[in-house]
């Protein structure tokens, strides 16, 4: 045992390769196996919608707060969705206090890209009065425990939180022209698409799903595929790393489609358990 852990420390790559030869991983999973995923929604009452997602050890919380703002002049019938990923020093010792670092920024942009690509919520749906007032959805995603596969966890938390959002009813007072909010009447958001992300790491030519932080550090490349319910691709995000053939890409997409069903089922179940209709 002591020898094994020494081997792991001194030659992490070689250690890992030995496992791959046997088609399994140090934590006992198959190469295509995800860690246990749990979702908890509505746990933060100060937010308009919230979700906590655990993917093995990786824990991510997403809180959505809705506010009013004037729409932009060139898109007067559109609201805003502002996603931001935060990796505080709390979640891992690799992150320093201060403004978001490179990884957090890249993750924020990834979530923003997926929102834009998939049109998960039509920005037109967030408009209250054309040119005057619209909803802004601030989606703050905070990682509480960083153990790899951040993007999948973020997307899952984001989607679950979005489905949990309840916006208060808004009417416009004819005399003053101001908005009036009725907190007693709540309306859920219209969600058009449900994008689900599936991440892989490339270890030379081997593809492995749902990497831990340790695996990500050893990997030679990463790939994240986002699919929606029609099987369309909302993102094929491969930020460099080892090269991939079209055929390998196809394998990954098939795995991502299978994963989509699992996550969708899980979110539906959680939403249902909270709101028995």
């Amino acid at each position: 045992m002591a020898a094994a852990s020494g081997f792991r420390t001194v030659e992490p790559v070689e250690y890992y390769r030995r496992f791959l030869k046997e088609n399994c991983r140090p934590d006992g999973r198959d190469l295509g196996e995800f860690r246990t995923t749990t979702i908890n929604i509505g746990s933060i009452t100060t937010a308009d919608g919230s979700a906590l997602v655990k993917l093995g050890n990786t824990t991510v919380v997403c809180g959505i707060k809705a506010e009013f703002a004037a729409p932009l002049a060139d898109s007067s019938n559109k609201g805003y969705i502002v996603p931001n990923v935060d990796l505080p020093p709390l979640c891992s010792s690799r992150f320093r206090p201060g403004p978001p670092g490179e990884e957090a920024q890249a993750a924020s942009q990834f979530v923003a890209d997926v929102i834009e690509n998939s049109q998960v919520v039509m920005k037109e749906d967030l408009c209250i009065v054309d040119g005057k007032i619209a909803w802004v959805l601030y989606c703050d995603i905070i990682c509480l425990d960083y153990d790899g596969n951040l993007l999948d966890a973020c997307m899952c938390a984001f989607l679950a939180a979005l489905r949990n959002v309840q916006l208060p009813a808004v009417t416009i007072n004819e005399e003053t022209g101001l908005a009036e909010v009725n907190l007693k009447e709540k309306i859920p958001l219209t969600i058009r698409k449900e994008p689900v992300a599936t991440s892989f790491i490339l270890f030379d030519t081997v593809m492995i799903v749902d990497p831990t932080a340790e695996e990500e550090d050893l990997a030679t490349g990463m790939l994240t595929i986002v699919t929606d319910e029609e099987g369309k691709l909302c993102s094929v995000h491969k930020p460099g790393g080892s090269a991939l053939t079209g055929a390998k890409l196809q394998d990954c997409i098939s795995r991502a489609t299978a994963r989509y069903k699992e996550v969708k089922k899980l979110i539906d179940k959680v939403i249902k358990s909270v709101k028995p209709t």
């Binding site: 490179e102 990884e103 920024q105 890249a106 924020s108 942009q109 990834f110 923003a112 890209d113 834009e116 690509n117 998939s118 030679t220 490349g221 790939l223 929606d228 099987g231 369309k232 691709l233 909302c234 993102s235 094929v236 995000h237 491969k238 930020p239 460099g240 790393g241 080892s242 090269a243 991939l244 053939t245 079209g246 890409l249 196809q250 997409i253």
Partner: protein
């Protein structure tokens, strides 16, 4: 600056092809490419890359000394800085920087220069579509000019799909805006595999595969351009 240094070391290669939309069966067509290497005196390598009206300037520094906090004991620390045409770089630039950086890391033989730094600075001069692809190409030309050891070359290709499923290679900004999907790939020169991929909009799996295939074919054209320009540069020397 170009007058003083550019003419001594640089050269200009140009390639013209007529730009048109093509089906998957047709040969890929790209906008006119113009590239000049070694035009800046301070960096160890530099390149100005133009495809159509999109223009990116790359400066490569390294291998040079690295900050202790960023030092990696068994390989070079690679950094990419992407400067937009106006304003300060934001989250968008940061995420593109990360993509370009990881693409370069995959091909640059960093293990030959441990504990040193390689910095690539990319300045956008004009954005008229296919910007990320142009940045990748400029970075690769810059790395070549700096003489850094690489396992292979790479190039960036952008592919736009319209609502009918027709695709355009190397789209202009207008074509990108009208397109349903815009895909950008980085392709390596040895096996024509996909090093990087990024996507705007949605598409089906078949469309993705078509675009990958078309980009791989377009990559041949760009690599031929790389080869020609390197030949011309060194034969003039």
């Amino acid at each position: 600056m170009r007058k003083r240094y550019g003419e001594a070391r640089g050269w200009i290669g140009a390639m013209e092809t007529e730009q048109k939309k093509c089906d998957s069966g047709d040969l890929p067509s790209l906008r006119r490419i113009v590239c000049e290497q070694g035009l800046l005196s301070r960096p160890d390598g530099s390149a100005s890359w133009m495809q159509g009206d999109t223009s990116v300037l790359a400066g490569v520094y390294g291998p040079s000394e690295v900050k202790v906090s960023k030092e990696i004991y068994d390989k070079a620390t690679l950094e990419v800085m992407l400067r937009p045409k106006v304003g300060l770089p934001g989250v968008y630039e940061r995420s593109r920087e990360q993509m370009i950086k990881k693409t370069c890391e995959a091909v640059v033989l960093g293990t030959l220069h441990p504990r040193s730094s390689i910095t690539i600075v990319l300045q956008v001069i004009t954005d008229a579509g296919s910007l990320l692809a142009s940045c990748l190409n400029a970075a690769c030309m810059g790395l070549m000019d700096a003489g850094l050891p690489m396992g292979s070359l790479f190039c960036g290709v952008t592919c736009a799909l319209d609502a009918d499923g027709n695709f355009t290679l190397d789209p202009t900004a207008k074509q990108e805006k009208e397109a349903q999907t815009v895909l950008t790939f980085a392709i390596d020169s040895i096996e024509k595999k996909v090093l990087m991929s990024s996507m705007k909009g949605t598409c089906s799996v078949e469309q993705l595969q078509q675009c990958v295939a078309a980009s791989q074919r377009a990559a041949d054209t760009i690599f031929q351009f790389y080869r020609d320009s390197a030949c011309r540069k060194y034969s003039k020397w």
